[in-house]
Symmetry: C2
Subunit: 344 residues, 2 copies
Amino acid sequence: MAREIAEQPAALARTLQALRPQRAELQKLAADRRVVLFVARGSSDNAAIYGRYLLEVHAGRASGLAAPSVATHYQASIDLSEALVVCVSQSGETEEIVETQAWAAGRGARTVAVTNDGASSLANAADVALVTQAGTELAVPATKSYTAQLAAMAVLAGSLAPEPDALDADLDRVPDEADRLISARAGVDAAAEKLASTAEALVSGRGIAFGTALEAALKLEETCLRPVRGLSYADLRHGPIAVVDSDHVALLVSASDGPMVPGMTDLAHDLRRRGAAATIGIGGDNGFADAVDIAVPGPDLPELVAPLALIVPAQLIVETLARQLGLNPDAPRGLSKVTQTDPA
Amino acid sequence: MAREIAEQPAALARTLQALRPQRAELQKLAADRRVVLFVARGSSDNAAIYGRYLLEVHAGRASGLAAPSVATHYQASIDLSEALVVCVSQSGETEEIVETQAWAAGRGARTVAVTNDGASSLANAADVALVTQAGTELAVPATKSYTAQLAAMAVLAGSLAPEPDALDADLDRVPDEADRLISARAGVDAAAEKLASTAEALVSGRGIAFGTALEAALKLEETCLRPVRGLSYADLRHGPIAVVDSDHVALLVSASDGPMVPGMTDLAHDLRRRGAAATIGIGGDNGFADAVDIAVPGPDLPELVAPLALIVPAQLIVETLARQLGLNPDAPRGLSKVTQTDPA
């Protein structure tokens, strides 16, 4: 996992370079499509959540997440003739995603596959395949394949925006920022130590960085075998915040700018008042860093592209924590690389 | 909370009777709308998830959950001229929901409010208000207001289906089934006792009953102050299942028929093999009841309408567990009835 975390700057640069030439193709495919629907599970689902926010906030295109069971278990008859359906799967072979893509195409959808394998079932059946250039990923927890998917989301959303190259300059800075965070490891060991010392953890973020928070929670859960909840701060405030006590460490994820920083900072103060064991903050601005107990610096990137590197410190924390707990971060208990969601 | 759980059969019957006459109005409003989007938080969000599946599976209408922050924080400019936007809030006064409704209307959406207060901001501003007849709800955890929202979802989805009265006969049986489950309390005490004895809980369901599982998890979390994760079985299998060990009790929620029963039954077997402390099953068929350690009977209702009563045993378990833990189920720590999701 450590090695593949370190390969991300190169994987991100390769993926951005490989996918940008497909912009015109994507524009044409989506020209008469009023809504974009994502189909994914696990880390790919967290990448899709970033894609969804970026499409709505940056490209102004209505977007959402499809429920695969509507296709696979209920075979619902829905008119998708105005939908672009984007299926995201590292392997391109997760059965329910492949099946949902076929269902969508059969109901009039145009389809885009985001996958790391250009020869996969998903890529072969799609109208357009965005093939990420992560290279072979050996560790079970997704790292470079996940950030490469985020790069694909940025290219996709950028393609459908009024100015398709508006994000390019910032995206070009992503590989160096990821590289800088990997080398610096600032705050990573302190954060892992704090997480090792408590039984309960929750992870929060919101908006453009919400998928990053969910991905950090998923990695903590599947790699460190910690029961962790990932929640938007709005959902957290709406009820579950009541459980926070001195057994809980909160991991808060924020971009360094944008409309979510005040709410994330306020949440950090609130969690401290409620007696949380500790708050760990990844990213944010100076006010946010002051509000948390352990501040882990994030990338110097604007909110819209920050997720491509903001996950890096979380990955380093997870990898460090797994080793501290005596676990093998490359092959967590009970997981496999190509996941099937229903019994065979 | 116990009193309001008991008021549900009457609240459900009143709500169904009050809202059915609005079918024609809903059909007219939605006639040229290709997609239905829900806006909600907390228990209302869980009701919306039922609404979303029912609309897709039963009415064949594309549907999804909007991300309120796209409106409230990013003020995204999205064309919603083919969308019906359904805002769900018991009080009708949660600011972000009211604000998102105004944003949607300003971008061309037609709007439906589902609220328990016909004089609320949400109801006043909507094109059509579906006013649930739960009566005043005093306990902070939603019970009768939630099931009344589910009744509104059934009327809404039914209205947009090819045969608008197809679910009527089954819906008419809901109040009696809810009443029967409240009186019987079968398995409730045993389930609460098991949950009291372990530190970790997870809740799973899928498809039409997925919202029920999430609502059970939310109630356990906010009322019993248990950190609980609610996951579809597909998401659970896709990674988080790795954390299950002898500290974990799993609460599994299933309708008695439909395509999810085999997967839920298989999940129960799998969790036992993985050494879970116990599995509690609400609903399901005989095979499912045999596969779990504690079987809590659900309603005798087909899957499409089962959620209206399937939550009842979960509510009874939560209320019983809260008292066993010495907590006040009517006024959980740190929560209020009208929730705001951002600092004032």
